[in-house]
Symmetry: C2
Subunit: 613 residues, 2 copies
Amino acid sequence: MTTHDDTQQKSVSEQAATASSTQGGYPTPAWRKAYHQGSRPDLRVPYREVLLSTGGTVPLYDTSGPYTDPAFEPDVRRGLPPLRDAWISQRGDVEDYHGREPRPEDDGLKHTAPRGVALTTGSTLDNLDAVFPGRPRRPRRGRDGGAVTQLAYARRGIVTPEMEFVALREQMAPDAVREEIAAGRAVLPANVNHPESEPMIIGSRFLVKINANIGNSAVTSSIEEEVEKMSWATRWGADTVMDLSTGRNIHTTREWILRNSPVPIGTVPLYQALEKVDGRAEELSWDVYRDTVIEQCEQGVDYMTVHAGVLLRYVPLTARRKTGIVSRGGSIMAAWCLAHHQENFLYTHFEELCEILRAYDVTYSLGDGLRPGSIADANDEAQFAELTTLGELGRVARSHDVQVMIEGPGHVPMHKIKENMDLQKEICDEAPFYTLGPLTTDVAPGYDHITSGIGAAMIAWWGTAMLCYVTPKEHLGLPNRDDVKTGVITYKIAAHAADVAKGHPSAQAWDDALSDARFEFRWEDQFNLALDPETARDFHDETLPAAPAKTAHFCSMCGPKFCSMKISKTVMDMFAGDDAALNGDDATVVAGMKAKSEEFAAQGHKVYLPVVD
Amino acid sequence: MTTHDDTQQKSVSEQAATASSTQGGYPTPAWRKAYHQGSRPDLRVPYREVLLSTGGTVPLYDTSGPYTDPAFEPDVRRGLPPLRDAWISQRGDVEDYHGREPRPEDDGLKHTAPRGVALTTGSTLDNLDAVFPGRPRRPRRGRDGGAVTQLAYARRGIVTPEMEFVALREQMAPDAVREEIAAGRAVLPANVNHPESEPMIIGSRFLVKINANIGNSAVTSSIEEEVEKMSWATRWGADTVMDLSTGRNIHTTREWILRNSPVPIGTVPLYQALEKVDGRAEELSWDVYRDTVIEQCEQGVDYMTVHAGVLLRYVPLTARRKTGIVSRGGSIMAAWCLAHHQENFLYTHFEELCEILRAYDVTYSLGDGLRPGSIADANDEAQFAELTTLGELGRVARSHDVQVMIEGPGHVPMHKIKENMDLQKEICDEAPFYTLGPLTTDVAPGYDHITSGIGAAMIAWWGTAMLCYVTPKEHLGLPNRDDVKTGVITYKIAAHAADVAKGHPSAQAWDDALSDARFEFRWEDQFNLALDPETARDFHDETLPAAPAKTAHFCSMCGPKFCSMKISKTVMDMFAGDDAALNGDDATVVAGMKAKSEEFAAQGHKVYLPVVD
């Protein structure tokens, strides 16, 4: 029963419940959730099966989580089932413990203000239950601070269930997965406190991944919207989601997102730390930062952007730039360094930070705080100086068994993109590169998903392992639901184009299936094999709305009277089995063609079509 | 007065007049039409001046024609002023003549059916006036069949007013323009019967150009829509427009487009020729085709796609493809070759065709009828066999003083794009390459402006001179007004990203101007410097609609409390003139930084901002 006292909690729960109503189901009934069975009963790897009108199916990688399984009853107040719970506990190397006590400032509230979300009346649950009504849980960490990272296991020769999961997901041998992780060329972000996530891998030998940023800011947005955006982004293919919230309710928003997220969640702890010191960068300290990191480790954040490469001596290198420092984290640390005339505390405390992250298996995403904010500033001294430091920090992190990826730009014209990739590989020992775009020109605000999609496709072809999406609202405002979808689809295109260019066999098979459907005028199959079936179908309907047009053997480009596809089919039939002609053997062809021509005439030159076949 | 008798003509005129109401003016008052004055009074080269809030201006290339000049009174019934009339007649090498008589089948009508557009009552004007009410004109051609092509003049060392025009437009030396044309590395499409067009040049040493396809089909669309689409496409930056109409009123639609087009118009004469034989490819003949070409030459078409490279012996090479022949023109000629068991009549009559085109200065766009229609078919034997023939035909054309460009694919995965460009340069003697995309993956119908924008940017960087746009409706339907705009903006992004990557100085200057505006929070300047100011402004309004937000020194990404740009400015001010710090001189920096730090503290650590400055 609803009483006045729990209005605030209801409000959050109900908001989220509303969001959940939109979470069920795929955009087309021709998509069906399916599973590869692994070596143990609880290891089932989801994928999407596209059902074709021919009776065949096409298997596709799927990031949408249990929501799209009709057998699953979504309830965002309860969260997703903890898929990895048994795998984690069976390793016998974690302990649960009474975690850090929640504080009002975790949610951006003054110390005296009431919490944004009221405690459940009479609750006897642990601290996290204060902000989330789901199943009781205490945080876990490596026993005695031991490394419980996939990197540590991989180095010891252990193929974890997580590794087997990604091996099945990527159609690779499990030991090849282990080897890539052990070598630091791939990361498997999987905090022991985020057992709800479905394991995925980020590395240049695997399918290119994409990240979607969400997050409220001081200006706009709500918890409801952020949970919904997370689920919406994964529905269309986001492999990870970063929660970049900066306003109120940061802690609570993140908790709801984590408990409901089937993909790894990344954050920039510095943003929350800054909120805790009321936005005064110079009041930041290692203590406040450390506290925030532990808070987020206990919640289950899978990877964290850490701007430890913004060194004091690099800051002046940005002074002659056209657009200075555009990274939020970079400018916060630059301000701190200047205010204190001290080296970046993230750099000086880096080994201590490694000790924390290794106990939860949180992956570093070493932030490029000095990335260029305009193509004029691309590949400059500041950017590459920081990259050198990131390479050094990556080696330190791995020496502590902490997984690492390296963040990259930003704004880079096409002719300077490859240098970024080549240098990163060399300097950072092939640690996975995680780039934002890059945008290849600055002149198209409102279309930066496209200016950056171009750069993203190129850099992914050359080796970037994960692409951070850019939405049409970049530089102008915060993305809404439509912008998130447009950003995700654009980046799925870039990632997939790169997979094809890199020669990934499953990538080409998808294109082939769609091309076959197109050539055979299987319109419904063409829609259902599309990255976005809804839009493909809607566009077709605009010109040819009638249902018969969905089975018509023509399209609105040429109309019913003439069709190049039909002519091609005639050609194929004519020359089937005629090796001389097929191989362009001129001498034989000339003779053979005459016979074919007569045959073609005898068929009545059938290159035309009935209006509806 | 309107009577029943001229209803049909009124209908066309009035439709077009409605369209014209949307033709006036730029999308923002901060864009102003300006002109570079050439060496003669009637040689004024238009450009767009972006007025900045700082009092400065940024000059940008402009394709919108007189419509955006407030001094011009648009009237689509009269057409645009014949800018080049005097230049053409003063050369003294053309004659006007009584052109080909119009026939009902020119407009796709049966020989006995009434014309789509009624003659003006009591008209004594020449044939073209039957379909267009504007100023009387007779077709012109080279006297005695002489070559009146820009190539012929360039080879004779003549810098024509057209060449001077493009030199001013591209900020190149006039003789460099002449040289590129003379060498066949660039074309300046400018039919003597389309004096309304503003000269532009297509070649890899110039700014990358884009083409927008329009055209009705048997299924949909009207004359009104096509004229409006042409003007709309040039408003957003289309450098040329191809009219690919296939249904009724082909002749009349084209006439209205040509008389109102400030950019060169391209066509595929084969489409109209096929209509004249009621869609029966095997009934096509050189005579019907020749008649159609002359009809279009007299109207003023500036370049024509000719599928002369689809040779009989290449057709079977497509039989093992995934998607066969997808080019409409290619499949028509393949069907003809097979039906007759004869060599492509466009190939066998190619020199005759050259003799016609040279008398009007119509530029060849040698069509790639065997281009791949799926990434699986990219770079195959059929495609490259045809390319070899196109190279051969290009040499034949130039030997007749006819300008030539070469069309390219299509669907090509990223790793196979460069081979296309390199082979084309080698085989076709660096004749301008004019490519459709290419699409880098087949899996995103509904987003093929993006799948192809990626490939377009890359191939343009590597040397493609003109990009044929692809709209979101590709493969699904015919583009509407919004799709045309999206296609044009996407391709302007691709072309401009390539200009930047190629090191074009004016290209980088545009990005720099926008980045400066962004860094200095000059929101209005940022919108006005955008390729699409309307969308940029709308997106900003969605998050921060209030007018003060347009002058606010923050954006919705971080909110008012914290701003990375502001920190950067502080850094810049601190280190201005401090060469040691700016150059990363470590020893000196350490000492200097302490002083700076104190200075920063003394300023009160001002890295925050008032909500509205």
